[in-house]
């Protein structure tokens, strides 16, 4: 499929809308994780508006592509994307993290249309995605599975158990994406617990590895297209991103990992995103 300049511009517009929704959600809840949701916005945009075979009218379609947000704390980003794509009404976003809302703090597959896996306890999403990819192969359904992990998250040992499984079972319908913003709660990934060298690690575990500017829609599309052509092995996309991307005062600031903006900050952020 040929991607035109118009398509890219349209996707950029969508990611801007998603960013605005993320800020609205976190501001409304006065709780949540804006930094890692903003870093992953282009990834979510490209998957849900360009790459994945999904239909908001049929969120339970057995043959749909699956997405596992292993870094479940970026829920504000996933919910904003699902609402933007039409899985549920955007007005629901204002209830994010509130009592009685379906939009739980971390993704809940039982109550939110479009959420394919319940996540939140870090390190488990790749295993779940493997299970889905294996089910796709057992039943010869041919759907693909995408799994987004945080770079700090891959300090969890289970990720590497799962990486062995992806490779051992030759899950070429699985694409692992690492949101490589290099920040985790206690500081820089390189200072807290280094995950590097990352490309070599993933390669040695049997992945076909791509590196990409994870905030660049054009590059993301190209790389996901390439990943679809790889056979007999899983693919991994190291997406170099900026935590807090799109909101100037949040960019590369670890303090915005899990903090909600106050009124002045909210206005400032929305002003920038509305430009």
């Amino acid at each position: 499929m040929k991607i035109t300049e118009n398509d890219i511009e349209s996707l950029k517009g969508i990611s801007k809308e998603i960013r605005k929704s993320i800020i609205e959600e976190v501001y409304s809840a006065q709780s949540g994780h804006p930094g890692g949701a903003l870093s992953a916005t282009e990834i979510l945009t490209v998957l849900y508006f360009n790459q994945m075979n999904i239909d908001p009218e049929r969120p339970d379609d057995e043959n749909r592509d699956r997405f596992v947000l292993s870094k479940g704390h970026a829920s504000a980003g996933l919910y904003a994307t699902l609402a933007e794509r039409g899985f549920f009404d955007k007005s629901e976003l204002k209830n994010f993290r509130k009592l009685g809302s379906m939009l739980q703090g971390h993704p809940d597959m039982k109550h939110i249309p479009g959420v394919d896996m319940t996540t939140g306890s870090l390190g488990q999403g790749l295993s779940a995605a493997n299970g889905m990819a294996m089910a796709s192969k057992i039943d010869k359904r041919g759907f693909r599975v995408y799994c987004l992990v945080g770079d700090g998250e891959i300090e969890e040992g289970q990720i590497w158990e799962a990486a062995m499984t992806s490779s051992h079972y030759k899950l070429d319908n699985l694409c692992l994406i690492i949101d490589n913003n290099n920040l985790q709660i206690d500081g820089k990934v390189t200072e807290v617990m280094s995950i590097y060298p990352l490309k070599e690690k993933l390669q040695s575990f049997g992945f076909e590895v791509f590196e990409v500017d994870g905030n660049n829609i054009d590059e993301l599309i190209t790389v996901f297209q390439k990943a679809k052509t790889i056979k007999e092995k899983p693919t991994a996309v190291i997406a170099k991103t900026i935590k807090g991307k799109g909101v100037d005062f949040m960019e590369n600031q670890v303090s915005w990992h899990g903090k909600a903006p106050k009124e002045e900050e909210y206005k400032l952020a929305m002003e920038e995103l509305n430009k």
Binding site: A135, E161, M164
Partner: protein, 309 residues
Amino acid sequence: MKDEKKATRQSYGEALREVGMKNKDIVVLDADLAGATKSDIFKKEFPDRFFDMGISEQDMITTAAGMASCGKIPFASTFAVFAAGRAYDQIRNSICYPNLNVKICGSHAGVTVGEDGATHQMLEDINLMKGLPNMKVFSPSDDVQTKWIVEEMLNIQGPCYIRTARLASNIIYDDGEKFDGKKSVQFGEGTDATVFATGICVSEALKAQVELEKAGINIRVIDMFSLKPIDEEVIVKAAKETKKLISVEDHNIIGGLGSIIADVLVQKYPAKLLKMGIHDRFGESGKAIELLGKFQIDCNAIVNKVKEE
């Protein structure tokens, strides 16, 4: 009770093969212990639906969750200590919270693992698993019941935990006997005492019942094979009708069968309960039979407990 003996882990493996023939959605996962949990019996018959996940229980459990989310019915088996213990968070967050249809088998439960010792003798799994919302917990006493439970778990849409043993124990029930998954099985109507037992301790309690009868003491033995849900009715009835209440299990007395029964009693019909089991300590190496004696959960210990003033 029959003289013939079989380990419930063996029955589990045989049952997997049976249900595997009837239901093509069943897949089986193991963590490098297929020969021990007996899931290899399924593997031989259906190699395409068997997945060895290697020595990685956390990955196995969450992979099973992913498969279940796509309509498969995974049975994930490994030693109870690694299933319920090591992969607890995975069972909690990836299976029970989203209420996914995964069946977990914890084999080699209790001190009757024997020579492998404390690291491999799971005495806390009932406690861990019963505390999880959506989880059903089964602890079969013999071959026939294990097979019935494996079938029954397919009628339940949601997570189940089945606890099996390494040690061969007497077959209690007649072939093909049916049970009620929300109930228990009562042996005898004796009123001198009630012995609530589960798993491998049921056959020990039945032996004790025979011994005690010789001494003119009539007890009833209740096979509590379903620990969650628990048969509240039979507990209250026993409390009303019998002079003494005893629970016996190859599990820590904290959080196991005894605690579950005590919970019912304290709310429905307060009565004294004597808890037999492992008294808040770890196990140790030895022969399974020796350990049943050492930890006072065998026939003799039950006889003595009933006779105690």
